[in-house]
């Protein structure tokens, strides 16, 4: 999967879970500050990414994922 493909899928998950327009989901966007997520949204978002990519993301790792870019890079590394 290319980085672009990962980004598109991440974008779709975020748009669904946070009910935001996909265009608003840029690589730089921060979940809390820019996309309006609260602590429970963030948990749901991580669950959505785990399902989409067949991954398990530990709580410690999830803590560090704060932007769309963090998510894309993390998933890319994990999928190797």
């Amino acid at each position: 999967m290319t980085e672009q493909e990962i980004f598109e899928k991440v974008k779709a998950v975020i748009a669904d879970k946070l009910q935001v327009e996909p265009e608003k989901v840029s690589l730089e966007a921060r979940f809390v500050e820019d996309l309006g997520a609260d602590s429970l949204d963030t948990v749901e978002l991580i669950m959505g990414l785990e399902d989409e990519f067949g991954l398990e993301i530990s709580d410690e790792e999830a803590e560090k994922i704060r932007t769309v870019k963090d998510a894309v890079e993390y998933i890319k590394a994990k999928l190797g």
Partner: protein
């Protein structure tokens, strides 16, 4: 103690959305009972219910909707309707003096069922982080407070089918005691789900008149065979009289008394002679120092179950004696079905409307009155000027709550 009046009516019912539509539907004797559309009920012995017809997206932001169980959505819609009807915009109120007390009998049943499935199929780590805040019973009041910034006392009544009346009675005390000047109070329920319908059906509590839905809720008849599940919400704006007067509010009625009791008898059956119900009615009268003869109308609990209707009639006779025959007694559940925790809310609205407009709502489907139950059940709407009216609510577990309204 301060006097408390009703200044806003928020009705989200199976026969009408908004107090005007609700009132018109009552006077037309409309039934809200239909085949269930919410889910596939074909495998259930009960396939009818009284669903509300409303689009929550017209009232609540799409993003927020996803994290609200239907019972909270209904409460928010009814609260919106109540404030609008009261001509109140939240900005003109002192937010610290506005309380919220909207109860539910069951809470987020639909959410519970959906998440149980996730838990069983995919394990504990896939339970939604919104499961608990969606399901818990206190969230109707909490969300109304959050939406409008009301920072007064916020609480919840959970007394099954007495919830709505219990909540209104507790709100009355809040204002009487000076804890708040305005309270949004009532009940909400959204339990038309496979588990809830199935569960009430196995208790033999529900009518199985699937072929004639509009005739299924038939309180006080010989052929009554159980209640019909309804859903929706009834929220009222209760206000300290001085507060309402000062802002020139339209006053529908005074909430003059509240009485509560327990049957201390059985988990689901009422006391056979209606002892607890009678005690609650007496207490509501005593609370307002009103004599039984001053009451002209009772909005009955009247669920259309064989034992419940009989016990209520016996209780009314105990309290009112000879005057019982002169009373008008009707069950609006004949039209709306039984909204469980929301019943007391919408029935308080119906009672207030009866006093305000001078028309008593009917008990429809009274085709074969039970000869043992010999009160005036008002089979057609009737014009009548009444000074005092009761609204009765009796719950599983024998918890009873009765409200007394006064015409102003």
């Amino acid at each position: 103690m301060r006097r408390v009046v009703v200044t806003g009516l928020g009705a989200l019912t199976p026969i009408g959305v908004g107090q005007e539509a609700f009132h018109k539907a009552q006077l037309a004797g409309k039934s809200g009972v239909r085949p269930i559309t919410r889910f596939d009920a074909s495998a259930l012995p009960v396939r009818i219910a009284a669903e509300v017809d409303v689009d929550p997206e017209a009232y609540i932001d799409k993003r927020e909707l996803r994290r609200l169980d239907r019972f909270v959505q209904y409460a928010l819609i009814a609260a919106h309707l109540a404030l609008e009807d009261a001509g109140l915009s939240p900005e003109e109120l002192d937010p610290e003096r506005v309380g919220t007390l909207v109860g539910t009998g069951i809470g987020g049943m639909e959410t519970w069922e959906a998440q149980s499935k996730v838990f069983l199929e995919r394990g504990p780590n896939r339970i939604s982080p919104f499961f608990i805040p969606m399901m818990i019973a206190n969230m109707a009041s909490a969300h109304i407070a959050m939406r409008y910034g009301f920072m007064g006392p916020s609480s919840t009544a959970v007394t099954a089918c007495a919830t709505g009346s219990d909540a209104l009675g507790q709100a009355l005390r809040m204002i009487q005691l000076g804890e708040a000047d305005v309270v949004l109070a009532g009940g909400t329920e959204a339990a038309i789900t496979p588990m809830a319908i199935g569960a009430f059906a196995v208790m033999r509590a529900l009518s199985t008149r699937n072929e004639e839905p509009e005739k299924a809720s038939r309180p006080f008849t010989l052929s009554r065979d159980g209640f019909v599940m309804g859903e929706g919400a009834g929220v009222l704006v209760l206000e300290a009289y001085e507060h309402a007067k000062k802002r020139g509010a339209r006053i529908y009625a005074e909430l003059a008394g509240f009485g509560r009791s327990a049957d201390a008898h059985h988990i689901t059956e009422p006391h056979p002679e209606g002892k607890g119900a009678a005690l609650a009615m007496r207490r509501a009268l005593e609370d307002a120092k009103v004599a039984p003869e001053q009451v002209g109308y009772i909005n009955a609990h009247g669920t259309s179950t064989p034992v419940g209707d009989r016990a209520e009639v016996l209780a009314i006779k105990q309290v009112f004696g000879e005057h019982a025959k002169r009373l008008m007694v009707s069950s609006t559940k004949s039209m709306t079905g039984h909204l469980l925790g929301a019943a007391g809310g919408i029935e308080a609205i119906a009672t207030v409307q009866a006093l305000y407009h001078g028309v008593i709502p009917p008990t429809i489907n009274l085709e074969d009155p039970d000869p043992e139950l010999d009160l005036d059940f008002v089979p057609e709407p009737r014009e009548a000027r009444v000074d005092y009216a009761l609204s009765n609510s009796f719950a599983f577990g024998g918890q009873n709550a009765v409200l007394l309204f006064k015409r102003v």
